[in-house]
């Protein structure tokens, strides 16, 4: 009975290692902190606790309190501190405990972190990584279960990356830290492989040792297929893969496209995949309207209507706050059942 994971095994173990997404993320941070003294991590409960969702487990022990800093519950102040430190050449990684809390510090994020580079005509760089936990599925209700990537992706000036698996979690973290721009890094609690939360069988994955970058702005074909493209991100990639496996038994060959990054959005990969499968299902754990699902559909429609053999289908949270009660929450999340239904629908 614990909400804390064990620290990752000591570095130096030979590849391939199977790690949880949390451990892979921490490994990426730790390797960059070793390489570059200007990298530091700050946020709430990221020190002794190791991050409520295991995002910093072991970092305090390894790097000490000068580089792994617990902050007061003052998101505006410490988010801005990260921005200012980045302006002066440091490379902060700053954690917002839940994405749901963005509203207490959004001005720092989108009016400052995201805009200073532009306003300065390119003269000032703001290399911050903003890490934050997203997603529901464990009855944490309306203020602690949201994904909100559509909100971040709508506002210019920040890159937005969303790893779904351990290898990408490490590679995108390294790429984000090395990027000279603000990068919002959204990790799904349900995909972190935490001991105290239900896991999918895909929560563990092979993670290369040593430094590598997963390119920001490049989607990945998580499963190639011919009949339909399921475009999605984050935990829903796992669900989509499960659904694809299940539908394969019925002779349906679904392609799962893990977008991995919303800004930049790999529109070419979407068009290429849909160009082959000619059918599109977008799965989005964020709210339905005015977000990712609409953007992906519009990307295809405005490019070439003939690409699509059937109207695209969206599976998202139907514009309702996330309800607490399990049955209600499951009814609004993009569950495997809803994804499978959508695939069947788009196949006609």
């Amino acid at each position: 009975m614990t909400l804390v994971d064990q620290p990752a095994p000591a570095a130096g173990a030979a590849p391939p290692r199977r790690l949880t997404m949390a451990k892979a993320m921490v490994e990426g941070i730790a390797e960059e902190m070793e390489r570059d003294p200007s990298v530091f991590y700050l946020g709430e409960d990221v020190g002794a606790y190791g991050g409520i969702f295991g995002s910093t487990t072991g970092l305090l022990e390894q790097f000490g309190p000068e580089r792994v800093l617990d902050t007061p519950i003052s998101e505006t102040a410490f988010m801005g501190l990260a921005t200012g430190a980045a302006v002066e050449g440091m490379r902060p990684v700053v954690e917002l405990m839940f994405a749901d809390f963005f509203g207490v510090c959004m001005d720092q994020i989108y009016n400052h972190m995201a805009k200073i580079h532009f306003e300065s005509g390119g003269h000032v760089k703001v290399p911050v990584v903003l890490t934050t936990a997203v997603g529901g599925g464990y009855s944490d209700a309306a203020q602690h279960s949201q994904c909100l990537w559509g909100t971040f992706a709508h506002l210019p000036g920040m890159k937005v990356v969303i790893p779904s698996n351990p290898a990408d979690a490490k590679g995108l973290m390294i790429a984000a830290i090395r990027d000279d721009n603000p990068v919002v890094y959204l990790f799904h609690k349900g995909a972190m492989g935490l001991a105290w939360m239900s896991k999918t069988k895909r929560a563990l994955g092979d993670v290369p040792a040593g430094a590598y970058e997963t390119p920001i702005g490049t989607a990945a074909v998580a499963r190639p297929g011919r009949d339909v493209t399921i475009a999605t991100v984050s935990l829903s990639v796992h669900h989509a893969l499960d659904v694809a496996d299940e539908l394969a038994a019925d002779g349906v060959d679904a392609e799962v496209l893990d977008l991995r990054s919303l800004v930049p959005l790999d529109r070419e990969a979407i068009l290429e995949s849909v160009g082959r499968t000619r059918r599109l299902v977008v799965v989005d754990e964020d709210y339905h309207s005015f977000g990712m699902s609409g953007e992906v559909v519009a990307t295809v429609a405005e490019h070439d209507l003939d690409l699509l053999a059937a109207p695209p289908v969206r599976v998202a949270v139907p514009d309702v706050p996330i309800p607490y009660s399990r049955g209600l929450e499951q009814a609004v999340l993009p569950t495997p059942e809803r994804i499978a239904d959508a695939v069947r629908r788009v196949l006609g």
């Binding site: 514009d319 009660s325 049955g327």
Partner: protein, 334 residues
Amino acid sequence: MATIAPQDELLDAPLRVDLYRTMVLIRTYEERIRQEYHADKTPGFDIGKGKVPGEMHLAAGQEPVAAGACAHLRPSDAVTATHRPHHLAIAHGVDLDRMTAEIFGRDGGLGHGRGGHMHLFDPAVHFSCSGIIAEGLPPALGQAFAFRRRGTDDVAVAVTGEGAANQGAFHESLNLAALWRLPVVFVVEDNDWGISVPRSASTAVADNALRAAGYGMPGERIEDNDVEGVYRAAGRAVARARAGDGPSLLEVHTLRLWGHFEGDPQSYRPGLATLDEADPIPRYRRRLLEEGVLDEGRVEAIAAEAAGRVGRAVEAALASPEPDPATATAYVFA
């Protein structure tokens, strides 16, 4: 509402028994919730499983704050709590059956199972809470504003943790309440911790009451988790608010007896082994026994009464149906 005794006079015996009874009811309730919460999460703690899923923040050790402050209130007064709301809800008289049903995610809950334990709203007693640190304060200002406009002498009691006192919302709320002389009583529950971060690592001053001066309002810190100290100080603050003299700030040095949330290993926390010695309920019981206000029989009766009440609440909750998933998108708009 009893009259407030001066600092050096003893409080009335019946009042002291009431304070004790409230604390016992709260503790009994939280022990039961804790048990229900963990009951079906084993083997292997899984936060999303069981009859009561999700995060669970219990207030064991903080009962003196709720009992002492809410003793001055009537149902038309407002209370705004945090992510750790049960003690205040119970002390302010929130419907226990429907609150429990909400915690169990049932349709008969205060929020038809939509809200959960961090989102308890009982308009009958103007109770609300929020899971966002310090952000429950601003709406309390609006309740106080409405009370004054309506011409009543109702007040709003707005509660946060000591960690929350470093949020911008805290500052803005105190300034605006003072500026507009709103009938608000701000209560900071200083339990020394904001999750794993000790007060010394979050707050530049040792006493939030010091901050009251920055808003021109009275500030007072109550040491020792003393329910009677809270009662007296809250009495002054509530009276001041009712009289139209504006807000006050109280900080109570209280105790988080258990983890931040259930499942918190508290490995960051020194002194865990001896924590129970500081439990305010046995301490107050011993004092009332020594001073002859309580006797063993009365103690047992109070415990039995609490157990009975809590048992009935849990039974009622479990008797309420799960919400129909087909209604999952209801209540977005009125």
